[in-house]
C-alpha cells in the first residue's frame, strides 16, 4: 500500500499540487441482527479505495476511487488537482495550514479476541439467547438485537513526509424490547439505545456486556412502561444518566465547539454555532462543575487513534474548564483562526470522504458524587435514563431530548416510573444549571457510531465519557 499512496502523492505534485495527502482505507464489516425470534440479517461487507486530497492554486480538491491500479491512481490524482484549480475560481486567500511535523509510525488498537475469527454460530447464539429472553415477557411485542463488528486498515502519506499505518477493531451490541399497547410504542434498551454500546476492542467486549443476562430486566421494564405515568409538563430538577449525558454533551457541546462550524463551513447543512471566536477564554459555558475534554488517547474508545486523518498526533485538550470555554476542536486549516495549531480532530468516513473536524472522545469529566447520594440530596425531580429521541437547532442552542424511561424523585428517593419523559433547554443556560456530577465510579465512555456531518454525508464513530449529572430548573414534559 505504501507504494500506492506514494504514487498518488507523486502524481498530484506532478500535476501541480503544492500539498497532497493520500489515504488507502480497507474496511471489513459484519452485521448480525435478530428480531422477534428470527435472524433479521447477516451481512458481511468489504470496501477498499484511495482518497487523494490536494491543494493547488491555493484551493482544495479531492478525488477518490475504488480501483487500485497505478493508472487509475494517477488519473484520480490529476482529477483532484483539476478540481482544486476549479475551486480557485472563488478563492479569497490561499489555504494555509497550521504547522505539522513528519511522522513515520504504525499503530494498532486493542483487540482481545478478533471478532472476525469467532464463528457466526457463537455470535448468533448470544443474539438469539438475548432475543428469547426479551420475548419471554408477554408485553414485549417486538424484540430486537444486533451485533456489529468493524476492522479498519488505514495507510496515510502526505507531502510533508509522513507515512502512517493504523489498524483497529470495533465491536458493538445492543438489545431493545418494545412494548406496544394502546397506540403507544415503548422501547427499553440495553446497554444503550440506537444500536447499543460500541467500543474499540474485540469479541471479549461483547461477552462482557452479558446481553442475555440483562434481557430479562429490560423486558420487565418495557412491560412496566405500559402502565407508567406520563411525564408532567413542568419545570423541575433533573438527574440524567450517563448514556443520555453522553448525547447531551455530543449535541450541545461537541458540535458547537467544532471550529469549522464556527467558521461557517457547515452552515448550509448541519448548521453553524452560537459560539464566536471571541468567546474563547471568555464565555461561561457552564457551571464550575462542568469540565469537558477532547481526548483521542483513551484506550478502547471509538474516538481513539494515534494520528488523525491529516497526520496530526492524537491529543487531549480542554474544551470547557470548570465552566469556562477554553478550546475548540480544530484542524490544520481552521486552527490558525484562533492562533493555535490543530488539536487533531480531522477524521474521514472512509477512503471516499475528506476529513472534517469531528469529535474524538468528548467527555464530561467526573465529579465527586455517588449517584445514591445525589438522588438522596434531591427533594423533587425526575431521573432520566436512555435516549429515545434528539433534536437541536442549527446554532446548537435550543434542544429537546426524549428518553425511554424516567422515575420521579420525591424527598430523596426514586418513586413512580415515568414513560417517554422529555426535556428541553437552551445550551449555555442548561450547562450553567448543572450543580453536581457523579464520580469516576459512575463514569464510562459511551460509543456513538452514528454522528452525521458533511456533504456528501459522513458518519463518524465518536465517543463520550460521562457520569450522571444534576441540572436545576429544566422544562420537562414538552407536548405531553
Amino acid at each position: 500500500m505504501r507504494e500506492l499512496v506514494m504514487r498518488a502523492l507523486e502524481a498530484a505534485q506532478t500535476a501541480g499540487a503544492s500539498y497532497a495527502d493520500a489515504r488507502v482505507v480497507h474496511t471489513t464489516e459484519e452485521h448480525l441482527s435478530a428480531r422477534n425470534g428470527l435472524v433479521d440479517g447477516i451481512r458481511a461487507a468489504e470496501s477498499i479505495g484511495i482518497g487523494i486530497r490536494v491543494i493547488a492554486d491555493g484551493a482544495w480538491g479531492f478525488s477518490a476511487t475504488s480501483i487500485l491500479d497505478a493508472e487509475e491512481i494517477v488519473r484520480t490524482a490529476r482529477q483532484a488537482v483539476a478540481i482544486a484549480k476549479a475551486s480557485a475560481l472563488t478563492l479569497h486567500a490561499p489555504i494555509e495550514l497550521s504547522a505539522l511535523g513528519a511522522y513515520e509510525d504504525k499503530w494498532t488498537g486493542p483487540c482481545g479476541i478478533d471478532p472476525f475469527t469467532v464463528s457466526l454460530e457463537e455470535k448468533l447464539g448470544v443474539l438469539m439467547a438475548a432475543d428469547a429472553a426479551l420475548r419471554a415477557e408477554p408485553a414485549v411485542k417486538v424484540s430486537k438485537g444486533e451485533l456489529d463488528f468493524l476492522h479498519v486498515d488505514k495507510y496515510f502519506a502526505s507531502t510533508l513526509g509522513s507515512y502512517i499505518e493504523q489498524s483497529y477493531w470495533e465491536s458493538g451490541a445492543g438489545i431493545t424490547a418494545y412494548a406496544i399497547a394502546d397506540g403507544e410504542v415503548l422501547p427499553r434498551s440495553y446497554p444503550n439505545s440506537h444500536g447499543g454500546q460500541a467500543v474499540q476492542g474485540g469479541w471479549e467486549t461483547i461477552l462482557a456486556l452479558d446481553l442475555p443476562g440483562n434481557a430479562v430486566r429490560v423486558a420487565e421494564e418495557a412491560a412496566a412502561l405500559v402502565s407508567a405515568a406520563a411525564c408532567p409538563a413542568t419545570e423541575t430538577t433533573v438527574i440524567i444518566d450517563g448514556s443520555q449525558i453522553a448525547l447531551q454533551v455530543h449535541e450541545s457541546v461537541g458540535h458547537p465547539t467544532e471550529l469549522d462550524r464556527v467558521l461557517g463551513d457547515e452552515a448550509a447543512f448541519a448548521g453553524t454555532s452560537f459560539l464566536t471566536l471571541g468567546d474563547l477564554d471568555t464565555l461561561r459555558y457552564g457551571s464550575e462543575y462542568v469540565t469537558i475534554t477532547s481526548d483521542a488517547t483513551i484506550p478502547g474508545s471509538l474516538g481513539t487513534f494515534a494520528y488523525d486523518d491529516e497526520g496530526v498526533p492524537a491529543q487531549r485538550d480542554f474544551i470547557i474548564t470548570e465552566g469556562l470555554f477554553t478550546g475548540f476542536q480544530s484542524s490544520r486549516e481552521s486552527a490558525p483562526a484562533i492562533g493555535r495549531t490543530s488539536n487533531g480532530c480531522m477524521r474521514a468516513d472512509g477512503w471516499n470522504r475528506i476529513p472534517l473536524v469531528r469529535m474524538t472522545t468528548l467527555s464530561l469529566e467526573p465529579g465527586d458524587w455517588a449517584l445514591a447520594d445525589l438522588i438522596a440530596d434531591t427533594d423533587d425531580g425526575i431521573y432520566f435514563e436512555t435516549n429515545n429521541s434528539w433534536s437541536i437547532d442549527d446554532r446548537r442552542l435550543n434542544f429537546q431530548f426524549a428518553c425511554e424511561i424516567g422515575w420521579e424523585i420525591k424527598n430523596g428517593e426514586l418513586g413512580r416510573m415515568i414513560k417517554s419523559p422529555n426535556y428541553t433547554g437552551i445550551t449555555p443556560q442548561f450547562w450553567n444549571s448543572c450543580d453536581a456530577v457523579c464520580s469516576r465510579d459512575h463514569w464510562q465512555v459511551w460509543g456513538l457510531p452514528n454522528c452525521g456531518k458533511g456533504e456528501p454525508m459522513q458518519v463518524a464513530h465518536v465517543a463520550h465519557g460521562a457520569a450522571p449529572a444534576r441540572f436545576r430548573n429544566v422544562q420537562v414534559g414538552v407536548g405531553r
Binding site: I42, S63, K85, L89, T90, M128, S391, D393, Q400, G479
Partner: protein
C-alpha cells in the same frame, strides 16, 4: 464513468453464477459523483468519487446470508459470494421466507441526461460562483452545494430477474445569510444540468434572507401555518419511514395499522408513491429487481395500503408493490418516491387567507417522539415569518415544534398547485406542494 446498465447487469449475473446456493441474487451499484461545496462566499470543499459495489444474497432453503464487496477481481468476487453462502448455511430458518421473487416486466426509462457530461468541476465552480454572486452583491454570505451524480443499479437473480438502469441527478442547495440576522434557503433537484439556473436559485435564497433580518419573538402555541414544499417534504419523509411500510404496519407501530379504509387525514390529502411519473427521479425497480408500482397510500384522506416487498407481500397476503430496500433490511419496504397530489391553491392565496399564522420555509433536525402518532419535534429554519391579516409581515426567530404529522395532515385546509421535487434520497425523491394547516403546535423558540 460508472458502469453502463448492461455492464452492471453482466456483473450481477456473474455474481449470481458464482454463488453456489439454492438461489442467489446480486445487486450492483455503480456511482460517479461530484459535489462542490461553498461557504462564506467561497468554494471550500470540492470532491469526486467513483465506486462500484456488489451485494450478494444467498439462499439455502429458508436461510439467507448477504455479503458485499467493491473488489471486483474474480477471486474477490468469488470470496464475497462464498461469504454470503457461508452466512446462509448458518442462519436459522425463517419459515416465512417466500423465496426470491420471479421476474416481472419492468419499465426502465433512460434517466441519464447527456448534459451531465459537460457539468464538470469547472462548470460546477462557475455555478457556485453565480449563486454566491447573488448573495455577495447584497452584502450577504452564501453557503451550499452544487452536485452532479450518475448512478447505475442492476439486479439479477437465479430465477431470471435481470434488470438495470442509470439515473443522473443535479442538485443544488443555497443558504444565504444576512449579516443583520436571518437567512434564506432555496434548492434545486433535477435529472439534467441544462435546466438548472444557479442565478435564479441564488436570488431566491438571498431574497428570503433580505426579508429575514431583525427576527422577533413569538410565544409558543398553536398556530395556523403555511408550510413551504421543503417543510412538507420533511413531514412526508417521516411518514414514509414511520408508517407507510408493510413491516411497521404489521408490527402495529404504524399510524396505518387498523385504519385501512378509514378517514385518517384531511379529504384534501392524497399521498402516493410513484416512481414512474416523468416528474420524478430514481429507479423504476426496487432492490429485488421488482417493478415499482404506483401505490396510493392515502386517498382523499382515507388510508388505503402500505408499500410492500416480496417478503412482506407474501407474509401479509398483499400484492408486491416493489419497494424493497437492499438486503438485509431491518426497516422493511419503504416508499422512495412519495408525492402529495397537487391542489389548486397558490401559496400567495394561502397566505392571503390567514388572519394570524406562521409561514415556514423549512425544518431542521426533525426527530421522532412517538412513532404511532408520528409525533415529531424539530426546528424551523432559514425563513420563518408571521402572517398577519393575509400578509407576510415580520420574520420570527426559529421555532421548535412538537407535533403529530398525522394530526397535522388531518388539519390541511389547502394544497398548493405547484409541487417541488425534493431529494436527496438516492433512488428517489419527493414531490411536495405547499400546505395550509389550521393547527400546528410550536413548543419553544431559540434565542
Amino acid at each position: 464513468m460508472t458502469l453502463s446498465p448492461q455492464q452492471a447487469r453482466d456483473l450481477a449475473r456473474r455474481a449470481v453464477e458464482l454463488t453456489h446456493a439454492d438461489a442467489a441474487e446480486a445487486l450492483v451499484s455503480s456511482e460517479d459523483g461530484a459535489l462542490t461545496r461553498f461557504a462564506d462566499n467561497r468554494i471550500h470543499q470540492n470532491v469526486a468519487e467513483k465506486d462500484t459495489g456488489v451485494s450478494v444474497r444467498a439462499v439455502v432453503g429458508k436461510r439467507v446470508g448477504v455479503a458485499s464487496t467493491n473488489r471486483l477481481d474474480d477471486a474477490s468476487l468469488a470470496a464475497c459470494c462464498d461469504r454470503a453462502v457461508a452466512a446462509a448455511r448458518i442462519a436459522p430458518e425463517d419459515p416465512d421466507f417466500p423465496g426470491l421473487p420471479a421476474p416481472m416486466p419492468v419499465q426502465t426509462p433512460d434517466r441519464v441526461d447527456p448534459s451531465l457530461a459537460a457539468f464538470d468541476a469547472g462548470a460546477r465552480a462557475r455555478a457556485a460562483a453565480a449563486i454566491i454572486e447573488q448573495s455577495a452583491e447584497r452584502g450577504f454570505t452564501a453557503a451550499g452545494t452544487v452536485s452532479a451524480t450518475e448512478y447505475v443499479v442492476a439486479v439479477a437473480n437465479s430465477l431470471g430477474v435481470d434488470v438495470g438502469m442509470g439515473v443522473s441527478t443535479v442538485r443544488s442547495t443555497v443558504l444565504s445569510m444576512n449579516p443583520a440576522g436571518g437567512s434564506g434557503w432555496a434548492s434545486h433537484l433535477s435529472g439534467a444540468a441544462d435546466d438548472f439556473s444557479p442565478e435564479a436559485l441564488g436570488d431566491e435564497a438571498a431574497l428570503i434572507a433580505s426579508r429575514s433580518e431583525d427576527a422577533g419573538s413569538l410565544d409558543p402555541g398553536t398556530y395556523t401555518v403555511v408550510l413551504a414544499p421543503e417543510a412538507v417534504s420533511d413531514v412526508l419523509d417521516f411518514m414514509g419511514y414511520l408508517g407507510f411500510g408493510a413491516k411497521a404496519f404489521s408490527e402495529g407501530t404504524s399510524f396505518l395499522t387498523g385504519k385501512l379504509g378509514e378517514m385518517l387525514l384531511s379529504p384534501l390529502v392524497t399521498i402516493a408513491d410513484d416512481a414512474l411519473t416523468a416528474e420524478t427521479l430514481g429507479l423504476t425497480f426496487d432492490f429485488e429487481g421488482m417493478p415499482k408500482q404506483r401505490t396510493v397510500l392515502v386517498e382523499g384522506g382515507v388510508a388505503r395500503e402500505p408499500v410492500t416487498d416480496s417478503y412482506w407481500a407474501a407474509r401479509l397476503g398483499l400484492r408486491n408493490s416493489g419497494h424493497a430496500l437492499p438486503a438485509p433490511n431491518s426497516y422493511g419496504p419503504m416508499p422512495m418516491n412519495l408525492e402529495i397530489s397537487a391542489g389548486d391553491v397558490r401559496v400567495e392565496d394561502m397566505i392571503a387567507s390567514v388572519e394570524r399564522g406562521v409561514y415556514v420555509t423549512r425544518f431542521h433536525y426533525v426527530n421522532v417522539e412517538d412513532p404511532v402518532k408520528a409525533v415529531l419535534t424539530g426546528m424551523t429554519r432559514d425563513g420563518t415569518f408571521m402572517i398577519e391579516n393575509g400578509k407576510l409581515t415580520r420574520p420570527v426567530k426559529n421555532l421548535r415544534f412538537t407535533q403529530s404529522a398525522v394530526e397535522a395532515l388531518n388539519a390541511v385546509e389547502a394544497v398548493g398547485a405547484r409541487r417541488m421535487l425534493i431529494g436527496p434520497e438516492e433512488g428517489g425523491a419527493n414531490l411536495a406542494p405547499a400546505l395550509l394547516l389550521s393547527k400546528w403546535e410550536f413548543t419553544g423558540q431559540t434565542r
